[in-house]
Symmetry: C2
Subunit: 108 residues, 2 copies
Amino acid sequence: MNKSSLCPRFEKAMSLLSQRWTGLIIHQLLEGPQRFCTVETSISISGRVLSERLKDLEQQGIVIRNVYPETPVRIEYSLSDKGYALAPVLHEIENWAEHWVEIDDTGK
Amino acid sequence: MNKSSLCPRFEKAMSLLSQRWTGLIIHQLLEGPQRFCTVETSISISGRVLSERLKDLEQQGIVIRNVYPETPVRIEYSLSDKGYALAPVLHEIENWAEHWVEIDDTGK
DNA sequence: TCATTAACTTACTTTATGTAAGTAACTATA
DNA sequence: TATAGTTACTTACATAAAGTAAGTTAATGA
């Protein structure tokens, strides 16, 4: 009654990457470690969801959370090796977008 | 107040690909033209959403809808060039999944 | 006329996301 | 000592997206 041939690893990867914001968060962190508010404003995600996503991604070993007990406390999020390994995926998307995506002025 | 550097084409591509099911639908159609019910059962998506997605993808020139007036009518969905151009993206995801995704027995 | 089949729609429920205000922990300033 | 500022979150509530299941349409064969 369920799907036939789908590789469960691939399926899991897809369900991760097809969550809203996940790809953009990783793309953002590819530029280097960043704090919560930086990511929040650079991709205009809501704090509620960003918090949720970072927790997920940390739990899956894709994102690493570093705490610097300065004043006020500084927390930086960065990518693990597993996270950096997603760079080719993002680059292929960029590549496709360059070649095939048109921008319509009618807003989004 | 909005994001800074995000390329609008990339952003559009991401908002497409980070919709639930979109990636799996395209992955499925990479195997060749298929009818509605085939896609529906092979990725276990609800008909309501599949119908919605196929309409979207058709409108964006990624999917092509072909009608064969047989009995009962046969409708096949296939990928356009723009759609096939997404193959490298899906392959990179498969590649990443093979190397980095572990399957936990605790269900999904 | 009734049943069958595929491709959708529609109505309704559940889940995910957005918005905005609130909290915790710390420090600099009055 | 009290007040306000800073960052990283939470919480409560509203809206949007997705799931479920039943219904519709169109063509044909029994």
